[in-house]
Symmetry: C2
Subunit: 159 residues, 2 copies
């Protein structure tokens, strides 16, 4: 599967499709995609840059939502916990999931110049990581790959 995020595409339909997909999954799984939760998802979808909780909070505030930190964190925890968004630990920031319909190990390609983020999929089960874990008797429940580097748009433009 291809990472998205470093190619131009139609954000409008991209956002609409993702929201529809998440709504459908919530309905199927008995999850409540409340107003705030959906709005936070949309805010994340509107960028391919990772957003900090306080950035999101600022947007919510401008729209008249209550804007104490827990409001953002609760919505983010809902989205992350159900696979609709991811937290990028390296940046203490969040992104909407690009592949929300399937279980996967996300691999983030983080451009250190423009700070855009693309999400790919890692296949750790065929990596030395899986062998290490097996040898050690360690059971992997969740995993993430975070790679920092330079995206094609910034390569050459800036060192």
């Amino acid at each position: 599967m291809q990472p998205i995020g470093f190619k131009s595409h139609d954000h409008g339909t991209c956002i609409a499709h993702s929201v529809t997909s998440v709504q459908k999954q919530c309905a199927e799984r008995g999850l409540q995609l409340t107003h705030v939760r959906q709005r936070v998802l949309e805010i994340l979808l509107a960028k391919h840059q990772a957003m900090g909780a306080y950035d999101i909070l600022a947007v919510l505030k401008a729209e008249g939502f209550s804007a104490q930190p827990p409001v953002a964190y609760r919505a983010l925890n809902f989205l992350v916990g159900n696979g609709f968004a991811h937290k990028i630990e390296r940046l203490n920031a969040f992104v909407a999931c690009s592949h929300p319909s399937s279980e996967h190990v996300p691999a983030f390609l983080i451009c250190r110049v423009c700070e855009n983020v693309a999400e790919g999929i890692a296949n750790l089960s065929e990596d030395t990581v899986a062998a290490s874990a097996r040898d050690a008797g360690f059971i992997i429940e969740r995993a993430v790959v975070e790679a920092e580097g330079v995206c094609p748009n910034c390569d050459g433009a800036q060192p």
Copy 2:
């Protein structure tokens, strides 16, 4: 290569060997392994659990070092920047590197029960991650794998 950290071993010699190795590398590479830096490395080596900067700071303080946050962060940045330690983003914490003599993509196996951490080595270049990056034209400069799960010592003991 095997992860270490979930097997018992002789910490005393483990620490001594690591410190000697790092001292040697610093000498070769013209890096100054100052008193604080070495002490922080030793503090990290003394555990296989990740330590927060403020945990380290508390130890330093007890030993009479100056104990403002930048003291710990500067030493940690030196160690991380030169490959002698790693930061585990998921925990906002630091561990001494288990393979300080070679460039590698570290893969952390983090036990969510006992919070011990083992370090293995990932081979992303043969993972789908490398293909994704290549397709996207993204140049990976640094990467890390963080896996959360249950270690062999905790499996069965606690759900």
